[in-house]
Symmetry: C2
Subunit: 304 residues, 2 copies
């Protein structure tokens, strides 16, 4: 996947030097608005990613790639962004990219053998925000691909998708222990947990929303509306705002579902906090697959 | 520093159990707007931090603390937030907290022996945004304290400050190597570096602004306006927008001053990136004080 001219030239030199001929795809920026958070909208025109389709750069990159000895251009790639709750942006992008491929076939005998439409399939974080099913994305993408290649008289390329979040997000649940509470009468009740933005920066970074439950009080009446605050030294360290729970008390276990994507990979040691352990659960049995950090770990690479 | 009733009770039990009598301060939330990013405004009424001064809770906490065997309440604390470019919020908060102390003296014979006004002194990140000098903060805070204690007929308490960022931020400069560039004609030129939101989340998280220079081209004419993009898989991974630099080229070293606070402590292994090395420089000599992470480090705690 080649993103820009610098990489293209660099890869060409490396391939020649190593006497290899790697298959490459070009990453295109199709200029499609994915209707998601601007931080994770990656396929718009003013993006750091990819060759913009609407300038002459995509064609220039394609001819350069085709004429670079040592590189074999087998296809095209785009990635629109993360958490796309609609399929329309995929359809728009497929349409644009296949039109480009047809033009390039005519002008440069380019043969689109692979089309990689990236990822971005949304998952359901909130009870009232269901995500499209995988089959909805698949049907829409495949139908568009079959229809458009037919119209444009292109061979059907191999279709590649890159789901990430939609595979792993629901596989993870974050567990916290509840500590203090703070009631500001008439305003808000904060309930503190022993984690926060250090292990899940998404609420602070993207205003991401999560559900939460009290794991040891499942099924009990949800009587209290509280805000789940982390232990970190910032007001922005709020995990969930105004969630209805059974009366949360110190020692209770708060569970946040759909924490399997981006929590641990983006976790930090902010405030000298220790990154959490990870346990794998299968058929009622739990196994530790990553141990919790220790204070010794925090200074393990220091030489002072 | 006791933040809430839960901590107060817990600390009381611990102290009694251990037969210790720790000195404690109460953290108050004075309800003062510090005019900073909402994520780091910590002393407002709707805050997870401290006993709100404007409710009866601060008085309740004070009487509880004074009557808890095993705890010795020696003073009060507030922390307004981070990066306060004005001194007025400190003056407002000192005024409010000393009035509270005077009331509590009258009603409960509370003796304010220590006043901790927290931190939040701003530093200059941008050439056109100078921060008040340390002496400006000190003069204002000390004058207010002397004047107000005089008016309220209070003994002058010991004054404690907690500067963090203002001590270390300017001691650190982040160094990146420049790689690819991407020009979107008429719109923007992106210049990529080998770091980004993994080692400095502040621009993405708080829209924090930094200056940048090309370290190996200091003094050369600043001919190019570019946007410094990180290597991470998000459009939000932009370190500096539209900065004027001498023509940046692959292999150049980009330096971002004032990176000594919050960059490394909030750094992550996002995208399986390795956290950077830290070198201490003194009188022209450099010494490695933290080594760069390795890929082995990333899986060191895994047991699968």
């Amino acid at each position: 996947m080649v993103d820009n001219f610098h990489e293209l030239a660099l890869l060409g030199r490396l391939a020649t030097g190593l006497r290899k001929t790697p298959d490459i795809l070009l990453r295109l920026s199709p200029g499609v608005d994915p209707h998601t958070h601007s931080h994770v909208a990656t396929g718009v025109l003013d993006s750091k990613f990819g060759f913009p389709l609407t300038t002459g750069q995509a064609e220039e990159a394609l001819t350069k790639a085709m004429s670079t000895p040592g590189l074999k251009l087998t296809g095209l790639h785009f990635h629109l962004g993360s958490s796309l709750f609609e399929v329309e942006p995929y359809l728009q992008a497929i349409d644009l990219v296949l039109q480009f491929a047809a033009q390039m076939k005519q002008r440069h005998r380019f043969d689109l053998r692979e089309l990689n439409v990236g990822g971005g399939f949304a998952v359901q974080y909130l009870l009232d925000s269901p995500a499209p099913s995988v089959s909805r994305y698949a049907d829409a993408i495949v139908s568009a691909l079959v229809e458009q290649t037919g119209e444009l008289k292109l061979e059907q390329p191999r279709l590649v998708i890159e789901p990430g979040r939609s595979v792993v997000a629901r596989a993870g649940t974050a567990l916290y222990t509840i500590g203090a509470s703070k009631d500001i009468p008439g305003l808000r009740r904060y309930v503190f947990v022993d984690g926060g933005m250090g292990d899940n920066i998404r609420p602070a970074l993207y205003d991401s929303k999560y559900e939460a439950v009290v794991a040891n009080k499942m099924g009990q009446p949800e009587t209290d509306v509280v805000t789940i605050a982390g232990k970190f030294c910032e007001s922005g360290d709020i995990l969930v705002k105004d969630v209805r729970l059974p009366k949360p008390e110190a020692g209770d276990v708060l569970a946040m579902p759909t924490s399997g994507a981006y929590s641990i990979p983006m976790s930090s040691n902010y405030n000298a906090s220790l990154r959490p352990a990870i346990a794998m659960v299968k058929e009622g049995k739990a196994r530790l697959i990553r141990r919790r950090e220790t204070y010794d770990d925090l200074t393990a690479h220091d030489s002072v």
